[in-house]
């Protein structure tokens, strides 16, 4: 099937054709449109990749709530991990019958359900209004219990994490949800006489900070062991890390293929969804690996055949921060651009976890490599390096309304990238629903594409 982006109705017709010719599906398969009955209204306004791999990706994503409900019914223990983005799930999935998920992921529900679930309204009523990050939707999800069962254990990293998220999590705690807090310090460069540790991604941190984070993670490990009713051995954790790394390796290959191919082989929207799987596995680590592997096979085949979307002249944009409104990923392509590099605030979860040190030490090093616990300059360094590697021609800094990292770091990153690479940089703001700002967003992105084309002609 030649690659094409199609609307939901077209996917329904294609699905019928595929079924008639013997489509083999995973347990979560079916028409994407069936999720409309769950209230996922935004699906009618998105364009989807027409591959079977993409069909499975979407169905996998949109059935997570069912998986969590089934896990609870099967007697598995649910771990709600908050804020750490990629660390605690590696620990949790290394133990049998523990299922970890990110309640933070509820931040997309207002977009996908077009506010119909009322989660932001509930957060408002709890005093967490629109001056906070859309992650506040999580509060509403805890109140309604309509999107995930209440976890058996809730963990949350605090310290050098988002101020607004800390406030939201504290409000959640105040509502009667016990939280096991663990601290992540602000990553600093080692002093001259300090023992330095190289972290995934190439940054360094003082050994004393790694020691501290490791001790914090030991507390989390004990709580998880208690929940699972059995100890977590180093061998079990090594196996968990190996499985996490398998997903990260495939994702890294997928990103590299997509960003470097002469013609864009996978739409920005599907890649964004796939990147998120590195964090949370959509509550099924093995299925997550399968979904990404299939997507990688499809993408590699397209690259080999020179097939894809847009044309080879499409403007190459590096994108910083995930968008709260998924439609914006389609809009980028409507404007004649493709995504060639991303930094969604969790690059540490895309890099492989070290395997040459004891496993708890490795997790601590990975956690300290989190872009959100370091400086904006650290983020800019990584962004500059990736822009160069992927050949991006411009940078879009997408702000999330209320998210303190976006508000505080965007300007600093813009200045560093513009000065170091002499690239056009624009900042935009993407709220959960952007209908009112759609023309303005489109104009900004189109103007950036025009700017890139003019620069090529100089």
């Amino acid at each position: 099937m030649p690659p094409k982006q199609i609307a939901l109705e077209e996917w329904d017709r294609l699905y019928d054709q595929l079924k008639a010719t013997g489509l083999s599906e995973p347990s979560y398969g079916g028409k994407i449109s069936r999720h409309l009955t769950d209230g996922d209204l935004r699906l009618t306004k998105l364009r989807f990749d027409n591959s079977i791999a993409a069909l499975n990706l979407w169905n996998f994503l949109l059935t997570e709530e069912e998986r969590l409900a089934n896990a609870r019914a099967e007697g598995k223990k649910l771990v709600g991990t908050m804020k750490d983005l990629g660390t605690v799930p590696v620990l949790a999935y290394s133990l049998p019958d523990l299922v970890a998920f990110y309640p933070d992921g509820a931040w997309w529900i207002p977009c996908v359900m077009e506010l119909s679930a009322g989660l932001l309204g509930i957060a408002d009523s709890l005093g967490i209004d629109e001056s906070f990050c859309p992650v506040r939707a999580m509060l509403g999800a805890f109140v309604t219990e309509a999107h995930f069962p209440l976890p058996d254990l809730l963990t949350c990293s605090v310290g050098a994490t988002c101020d607004d998220f800390s406030a939201i999590a504290q409000r959640l705690n105040g509502l009667g949800n016990p939280i096991l807090w663990w601290e992540i310090p602000h990553r600093r460069k080692p002093a001259e006489n300090e023992r330095a540790v190289v972290l995934p991604g190439g940054m360094t941190a003082p050994g004393i900070q790694v020691d501290f984070v490791e001790s914090e993670l030991e507390r989390i490990k004990k709580a998880l062991e208690s929940l699972a009713g059995q100890p977590l051995s180093d061998d079990m954790l090594r196996d968990g890390i190996a499985r996490a790394n398998a997903i990260r390796q495939r994702l890294s290959e997928l990103r590299s293929l997509v960003f470097k191919a002469p013609v864009c082989p996978l739409p920005a929207l599907e890649l964004l969804i796939a990147e998120m799987l590195a964090l949370h596995y959509c509550s099924d680590r093995d299925a997550s690996l399968q979904v990404i592997s299939d997507l990688l096979i499809e993408t590699r085949a397209r690259v080999d055949q020179g097939e894809g979307f847009l044309d080879a002249e499409a403007a190459r944009i590096f994108w910083v921060n995930p968008v709260a409104d998924l439609r914006v990923m389609n809009l980028v392509e409507d404007c004649g651009a493709r995504i060639c590099g991303t930094e969604h605030l969790f690059t540490h979860a895309l890099d492989e976890i070290p395997t040459d040190v004891p496993p708890m030490r490795a997790l601590a090093q990975m956690a300290l490599a989190d872009p959100m616990v370091g400086t904006a300059a650290d983020r800019a360094d990584r962004i500059c390096s990736d822009i160069t590697e992927f050949g991006a021609e411009a940078l879009v800094l997408s702000r999330i309304p209320g998210a303190s990292h976006c508000a505080l770091e965007g300007g600093a990153i813009a200045d560093i990238v513009a000065a170091r690479l002499d690239l056009p940089v624009i900042e935009i703001e993407v709220a959960p629903l952007n209908d009112a700002y759609w023309p303005s967003l489109g104009t900004g992105l189109r103007a950036l594409v025009e700017t890139i084309r003019q620069r090529r002609g100089k």
């Binding site: 513009a418 303005s440 104009t443 025009e450 700017t451 003019q454």
Partner: protein, 256 residues
Amino acid sequence: MIYGGIDAGSRTIKAVIIDGDSTEIIASGITDQGVKQDSLAEALFNDIAGSDRGKIKRIVATGYGRDALPMADTTITEITCHAHGVHHLAPHARTVIDIGGQDSKVLRLQNDGRVRDFAMNDRCAAGTGRFLEIVADRLGIELDSLGEAAGNATAPSSISTMCVVFAETEIIGLLAAGESPENIVAGVQQSIVGRIATMGGRQIMDPVIFTGGVAMVSGMPEALSSAVGHAVTVVPHPQLTGALGAALLAVDSSDH
């Protein structure tokens, strides 16, 4: 050969016709925006082109309503068109500040006039001409007289830069407290240019060109200059730079 540019803004439609060889402006015009903007634009073009209407080889549309004009051969964003128009009129310009009816933008240009990067207001009308219209209406002062009123201010009021709706409430409160209309007008002007200065950040480079309808409101260029800390020049017919840029790009993109 003659070429046309049309800038369908949120408040007005502007049109320019130029000679493709000399790039001189042959005709130009402005009309208020309305529901049927395609008809309004067509009528404006017919009016300014007269008997030459059929001779226009190519038309480029820009502005908020650019995609709703079937008469245009192609569309280009107002960012690119303003940069092109300003570079034509002021070749050394490095920064363009455009304050229109309902939006505003800051463009940084390279030496050759191409866009380096830009910033746009993407939320509220607080940094736009709409704010001036609201205050003029509220204070019963003609738009053209705002500059004169601001010039008579003794102590400009402090007005919110966050939201026009809140700012209007503030103005009502200030009037009730006995504040002079002159001080309020000056405060609103400072509020608008303050927002623009924030949007432009630390990257504003000389020479700075001020375009858009708000550039014609007396007192605004001085207020803007003070806010951004650079001398500001208003080009002739600052409302037309987008349409002019569109016409110039019509020439560039044709097989002329």
